[in-house]
Symmetry: C2
Subunit: 348 residues, 2 copies
């Protein structure tokens, strides 16, 4: 195995943005997508980081995703809006949608924005966390391609449809939850299959709906929803809000990011809640700090420190900002191959 | 065991309302609380049904809950509001809050309403489903008394904090999810303890944070959150939104419904989304019907019919409206004892 290399946040941001510019994105669009990819790396969510650059650009080259599109405000009145992403990057549409939701919340106390005809938008937490800078609470939903069976059935229909919440704190890092409605990500099972390893019971079902520890059978089957019927229902509702409410596509119709047969037809939903309409934001954040301090002082289950939701990712971000981001030889090769296509100088 | 008796919905509504009127509630307040209790019975959620009447009225008699209170609109601007329930019934505050959220959504496209200083409000789905009659989507959160440990700790701090979504359909029953963030309700473990039965692994932890099948040890410990760290984080966020955002109390401070040492200090959060601001509601409901029909036609896991979220409860409601609601001898005795205190004629 070749060794991994370390790059600064700045270097990776510039490299990704240059490559995306080369691929035909606008300056602003390239910067947003680059930022979300490096954001994922900083937080240690490599599954949604640099490795995705090649995948996104393959969709562009296949002609099934738009480099640039003027995102349409299809409906926009009061605290609610519906944007048409017109098949451009989910990150660009998501950024515009959450920006709008926050502006609406500043004016009306809350803002809800749906997005239709979008694509994979990366890490949901990125958009929820946009609320933190303006002392708001962010809540984000997206649908995804079929990966789980609706409870009582046995073929994939609903996605791992994640939800993300971001709640500001004062001196402590914000409380940030970004969870899929499946027990684990499909990537973990793919990794196990590649290595010929077994997976724990409870992660997935085979194509007949039986629990399995065989990673290959799992890939032909479905992921287990978190909490069985609860996760299944939650995923279905997220899909109805993101896919049907936005008038994009019926449940089961979203294409996987690697499926080049047509537009992905992803939908998203963003909610911003203006804390100041309920309580003084300073008091709110001080109270969240008191809750966090209380939890840190609770009797521990094990020897390790108690981490609040999002705290490990926050610490990872601080560390990687200081020490740099490690990039595996495999990812580096993928990045440089992609950059080469668009005439961008490879990372050394 | 004495046999159970069957009563009509109307008889039970009148009986509960009379008893609540006798206990000093307003006519409107008594009707709302009665309706939510019978709603739970109709849906087959007996844990939140008639058996709770005595518990609520014990709180009144202990002087730690208000019979009547003019609910204050502490803040109200645009699409957001904060109500102060002034320690009256959670059902009355919840009804007023969701009514307001729906009115705001009619005007602004979305409405968010928080409630402070409230009490147990019964079944969360009741309030989410208020959105269905006006072609909206309802989303409801409430906090509850400590029952689960935050992930990594081992003493109870966060509640089984439920969330409910209601999404209208056309010819099919609406999609309604009402789930706690714990694997199971504490009541199931209490029942097992009473019967001296073991509980399945995965339901609860003992006071040292170890998985247990002993119901008594479980009652001294904590409930398992759904999906481990995911359910723990979700519960914490629901608490921050319901308790801290509403400026009611810090996480861990909500009192159990049976704890008569003071006001419960419960908080709730209601969101209404006006479908018409996104898509024609008729088309939305037709599309939800198509999704449901698709799911009904998927390859089944077992022999039994596939049920959508809320469908079993809907069917139970239709059946019990027709055939009546069964009341156990134990519940009947509790109801009649309570009614007797307030001079209401017992159920025969």
């Amino acid at each position: 195995m070749a060794q991994e290399k370390i790059y600064s946040e700045r270097t990776l941001l510039d490299f990704c943005a240059q490559t995306l510019l080369g691929a035909g994105l606008s300056q602003a669009g390239a910067e947003i997508v680059a930022e979300t990819l490096v954001f994922a790396e900083l937080r240690g969510i490599k599954s949604h980081g640099l490795i995705r650059l090649a995948t996104y650009l393959e969709r562009l080259q296949a002609g099934i995703m738009e480099r640039q599109a003027t995102i349409l405000r299809e409906r926009d009145e009061g605290a609610a809006a519906l944007l048409d992403a017109r098949n451009t990057f989910g990150q660009i549409a998501g950024f515009e949608a959450m920006t709008l939701a926050l502006a609406k919340a500043a004016e009306y106390g809350a803002g809800v924005v749906g997005v239709k005809n979008s694509n994979h938008f990366g890490v949901a937490a990125y958009f929820a966390m946009m609320a933190l800078k303006v002392d708001m609470i962010g809540f984000v939903l997206t649908n995804a391609s079929p990966a789980m069976a609706v409870y009582g059935t046995r073929t994939p229909l609903i996605g791992t449809n994640p939800l993300a919440w971001a709640v500001p704190a004062g001196n402590y890092p914000a409380i940030v939850l970004d969870m899929s409605t499946s027990m684990v990500a499909r990537g973990k099972i793919r990794n196990a299959a590649l290595k010929g390893e077994a997976i724990p019971l409870g992660w997935a079902l085979d194509k007949n709906g039986n629990p399995t520890t065989d990673a290959k059978s799992a890939l032909e089957g479905t992921l287990e929803p978190v909490g069985g019927v609860k996760g299944s229902a939650l995923s279905l509702i997220i899909d109805l809000v993101c896919g049907v409410l936005t008038d994009t596509i019926l449940t089961g119709g979203v294409k996987n990011i690697t499926d080049l047969s047509g537009p992905a037809k992803t939908g998203h939903f963003f909610l911003a809640i203006n804390i100041a309409r309920f309580i003084d934001p300073g008091l709110f954040k001080a109270n969240v700090d008191r809750v966090i301090a209380g939890i840190k002082g609770m009797p521990k289950l094990g020897e390790t420190e108690v981490f609040l939701p999002g705290e490990i990712e926050h610490r990872s971000t601080l560390q990687r900002r200081k020490e740099g981001i490690s990039v595996s030889a495999l990812t580096l090769a993928s990045l440089n191959r992609t950059a080469g296509i668009f005439g961008v100088r490879p990372l050394q």
